[in-house]
């Protein structure tokens, strides 16, 4: 066994509560390089929270996250809360993960181009010329090279989300996290975003995708995880999972989703 290649992402026994409500009840999973993992679940199943715990947008209550073999160091803080021990480490690792949000979250006061070059220049300390060159390449890739000087508010939702994907790609991340990237879009705009995501999957990008798009899960992902009430209810190869659901919860979820 080759010890020098650790999994791209390893999550161990992750718990997260909001007040007294436990949303994530001990989830463990592993993603290897090139995996496209879709995470399904009814609303309230904790799937978005799980994703947000991976880059510590939410601080988990316990558990371990390891990115490319490096475990995020955690400690018990003053008020007895679980928290990152070294914020610099977290910031460094965050720049190797990148996230695409449901609400796009483009920086509204910056143009499309400025949005894309922001993190490469100011977090990853790249040269401006190089960042711009890369941004132009990525904009071309998501089909928006003619929009680089637009402000986000002047773009359609689908275009904004494609810019957000370009922004995420600009950091050349090891893993991309997608938090329901098409849920806020009008139905006719979903396709253009999914096409871009499909291309990324084919390139061999490591992706974690929380989504409601069954067709994407079925056709594109290499692995599907179904969450129910904060637990992994079922997981495996999507072709098996979708044709042969084992638990009644997943069965119910599938029939509802395809109606």
């Amino acid at each position: 066994m080759n010890k020098s290649i650790p999994p791209a992402l390893k999550v161990e026994n992750l718990h997260k509560s909001f007040g007294k409500v436990e949303v994530i009840k001990g989830i463990s999973m592993t993603a290897n390089k090139g995996d496209v993992i879709t995470i399904l679940g009814a609303s309230g199943s904790g799937k978005s929270t799980f994703l947000r715990c991976i880059n510590l947008l939410e601080t988990p209550n316990s558990g371990e996250v390891t990115i490319g073999g490096e475990t995020i160091a955690m400690k018990i803080g003053k008020n007895n809360n679980y928290m990152p021990a070294n914020i610099k480490q977290v910031e460094r690792l965050r720049s190797r993960l990148s996230m695409v949000f449901q609400g796009f979250n483009l920086w509204s006061h910056m143009t499309v181009l400025e949005n894309i070059i922001e993190a490469p220049i100011y977090v990853q300390k790249e040269s401006k010329a190089k960042a711009i060159k890369n941004a132009k390449y990525l904009l071309n890739k998501v089909g928006l090279s003619d929009r680089s000087d637009y402000y986000p508010s002047h773009l359609s939702g689908g275009q904004q989300q494609r810019v957000a994907i370009a922004r995420a790609l600009a950091m050349n991340p090891d893993i991309m996290l997608f938090d329901e990237p098409t849920s806020a879009l009008d139905p006719e705009l979903v396709g253009e975003v999914l096409t871009v995501m499909r291309d990324l999957a084919e390139e061999g990008r490591t992706m974690l995708v929380v989504t409601h798009e069954m067709s994407f899960a079925k056709d594109v992902s290499t692995k599907t995880i179904f969450l129910d009430q904060g637990n992994i209810c079922e997981q495996g190869c999507p072709s098996d999972l979708f044709t042969n659901p084992k638990t009644p919860e997943f069965k119910k979820f599938l029939t509802r989703s395809f109606v």
Binding site: I87, E91, R94, L106, S108, H109, M110, E118, Y122, M171
Partner: protein, 248 residues
Amino acid sequence: MAEKTLSSFEKFIKYIDSILPLEIELIINNFDRFIYGVGITLELTILSLIIGFLLAVPMAVARSSQHAILSPIIWCYTYVFRGTPLLVQTYLIYYGLGQFQFIKNSWVWDSILSSAWWCALIAFTLNTAAYTTELLHGAINDTPKGEVEAAIASGHSYFGRIRRIILPSAFRRAIPAYSNEVIFMLHGSVVASTITLQDVLGVGRWLNGRYYLAYEGFITAALLYFAIVFGITRIFRMVERKYLKYLQ
């Protein structure tokens, strides 16, 4: 040629003078004083706005940080300065501090606190800093949460987010409210005339006192202030057009 235009100009003034119940000639003859007054008014207003803004930025950030000690202290400061008249604040500094012998004996008295100009500048600066702090604090709080999250997720540090994302966007959103603050400060600067300074209103009051007039000096001052406000409004319209393009 020059003489001729001058005399016809004088004729014109005499004519205007004769049909208006105003001593136009006196205003014209003392216009250089008014120009000087505009200088004092602008000097005090602009300097206090600049220094006040520079003080307000870190205070607004600290106030928004929910820091257990800094945040309430800054809140108290802004509450007191926003809850009391600028006139009283200015009197307190200009007339009030002289009550204390130890201040009168120190070097600050001779070089700064005995001067009406410095006292006005200090009072105006503290006043506008308080308003600007609250205004920026509001704008910082209104930063869309998702945009901050996106900054966190892309690895920006705490100060990196403030510097690159939160403040640039808060500054832009604060422009309309800040333009009001600028006009408010210009209006407030007339307080300078109550502590002997010859700002625009100070000159107006001097003119009326000197020639026993009832309104010439005040009307001239009013028109000059109006012109300055008009200019400020124009400038801010241009600034808004440039920096708020992304909102339209």
